[in-house]
Symmetry: C2
Subunit: 321 residues, 2 copies
């Protein structure tokens, strides 16, 4: 088994973190990842206090191991953060936006502060506000992100923020990706899409099936789902999703979509409620080529961790003596 700064901090069996996917990474999924020896992070998303309270109770009921929660930084309010901190998470992750307003409170609570960044400027800010771990997220990730790719971004962030441990995110869905992340200097990997396609994930069965069926060439980064849902994301943070009839119609025509919101938003939410993934968003990263079925989360944690360990052993055997 692999030992890194990440596994030692949270007493993990495997250096694997569940991405706090909003509305997907609920308490059941987070607890399952924790119980299998990874670090489960609840997907606090935009900070709906009722959702957060309910899923906090679920994760605490489901595991006695270290767990955490993540938020979209620009959407997080102090009261919602207090709801989370009251349940004493071992880690709080902030992504997208300036972490400095919330960093001191999180650190003071005793939780480890994890900041997810998409470029070197973000890494510098995370380092300077006291992040205990920095997630370097590449453009191949599912959901919101930016433009830099994981493979060159991770070592550049490692060099910039040393000795703060870095976690690689984006494009990782199997033991090969985790082993590669460790070679890049990361202390582990954060996986979203791979855990979306689990029995424990929230989200519609249709969405999970779509992830298992599609391939990486069918994803794109787009703003159309944020436009139609009226979420004020910064323009730089597009979201990677599986192409569908909605992206075919609106991607590249965001202005026209913005002008048609009165009818399009209602139609969108109606499709969403029905689990119609032809219209509704299925966030997914490029690594879906490597995802072929919906599985229990524990099997994924164990397989990826043990595969990566085996690859590290085999890698040393590539060396001629």
């Amino acid at each position: 088994l692999i030992s890194t700064a990440l596994t030692r901090q949270f007493q993990l069996t495997h250096p694997i973190v569940l991405a706090p996917m909003g509305a997907i990474s609920g308490g059941k999924l987070a607890a399952a990842v924790c119980n299998a020896g990874g670090l489960g992070l609840l997907g606090g998303g935009y900070g709906d206090a009722d959702w957060v309270r309910r899923e906090l109770a679920e994760v605490k009921a489901g595991t006695r191991r270290p767990w955490g929660i993540g938020f979209i930084t620009w959407s997080l309010t102090a009261p919602v953060l207090e709801v989370a901190l009251a349940d004493t998470p071992h880690a709080v992750m902030l992504s997208f936006g300036d972490p400095r307003p919330h960093a001191p409170r999180i650190k003071a609570s005793g939780a480890r502060l994890i900041c997810q960044v998409q470029d070197l400027e973000g890494a510098r800010i995370a380092r300077d506000c006291g992040a205990d771990f920095i997630v370097a997220q590449g453009t191949e990730a599912g959901g919101h992100g930016a433009s830099r790719a994981t493979l060159p971004l991770v070592p550049a962030v490692v060099d910039l923020v040393a000795p703060i441990p870095v976690i690689a995110a984006g494009g990782i869905a199997d033991g090969r990706g985790l082993a590669a992340a460790l070679m890049l200097g990361a202390a582990g990997a954060l996986l979203g899409t791979r855990f979306y396609a689990t029995h424990e994930a929230l989200g519609s069965p249709n969405a999970k099936r779509a992830i298992a069926a599609a391939n990486g060439g069918q994803t794109l980064r787009t703003r159309v789902f944020d436009v139609v849902r009226k979420f004020p994301w910064p323009e730089v943070n597009t979201g990677r999703a599986i192409r569908n009839t909605f992206t075919d119609r609106w991607h590249g025509r965001e202005g026209a979509l913005g002008a048609a919101l009165e009818t399009e938003s209602a139609k969108y939410w109606e499709a969403n409620a029905k689990g119609d993934v032809g219209t509704s968003v299925v966030w997914a990263g490029e690594a879906i080529d490597l995802i072929r079925e919906v599985e229990p989360a524990a099997e994924i944690v164990t397989r990826i961790g043990t595969d990566a360990a085996r690859l590290l052993r085999a890698g040393a055997r590539l060396l001629e003596t």
Copy 2:
């Protein structure tokens, strides 16, 4: 030292391939990479017969080790291919476009056929036309490429084309990237930008200095340099370059640039002749964060190969016993 299907095929000391960068990877650079124990590929580019003849003579004068040559497939003609084959290269690499018209002739010559691909459909074609090695090139690469990222693309291609060995390209500039590529299942790595910033590379000193000075966030994928140079690239194959005043002015305004070619092309080539990298293109990948100086090619080959070997050894030591 690392032993893979790539090192065994070409008797390499390190599983490192010089990308055949058009007008950059000349005979001196290719020979230097070969002599240091990597595989040097001449940058045959668009297939200028005079350039090819001159640089073939240079590489043959410079090394007695296996070497090769690469071409832009859609631009390659049978006569230019014959010029190259007459000098009995050990490998011919084809990138961008359908390799099938040239594959049988290359295979019949005794050279190994290397096909570079950017997606799974390209990998399928390369496999089916008899490629001996398949380069999976991610979007973070410098110069021409497409949209898939290296980290998730490489294992997907490995799975698709097995047992054909795969070489990773895009975003790799140090031993960490090479070691990561091996963990992903690749037999080695192909590096362009890192070798552009060498004393032996053709290309202006200003361009090399720009690569050493810039960071990965300053690159973009664009068509503007192909529009102004009137090269008929497929729209999907954008080129990654360092942002400059030319991209600031024209990127996103390709139609307007196309309409202004009568004056803009002349101005562009004038700037290019003067080594003015404010206007002229400097192809570069996102891994330029990891490139801080212009160095001799041999030092790069040796350092990356030995660093990767050290990391593989250290990776096995991450395992708790």
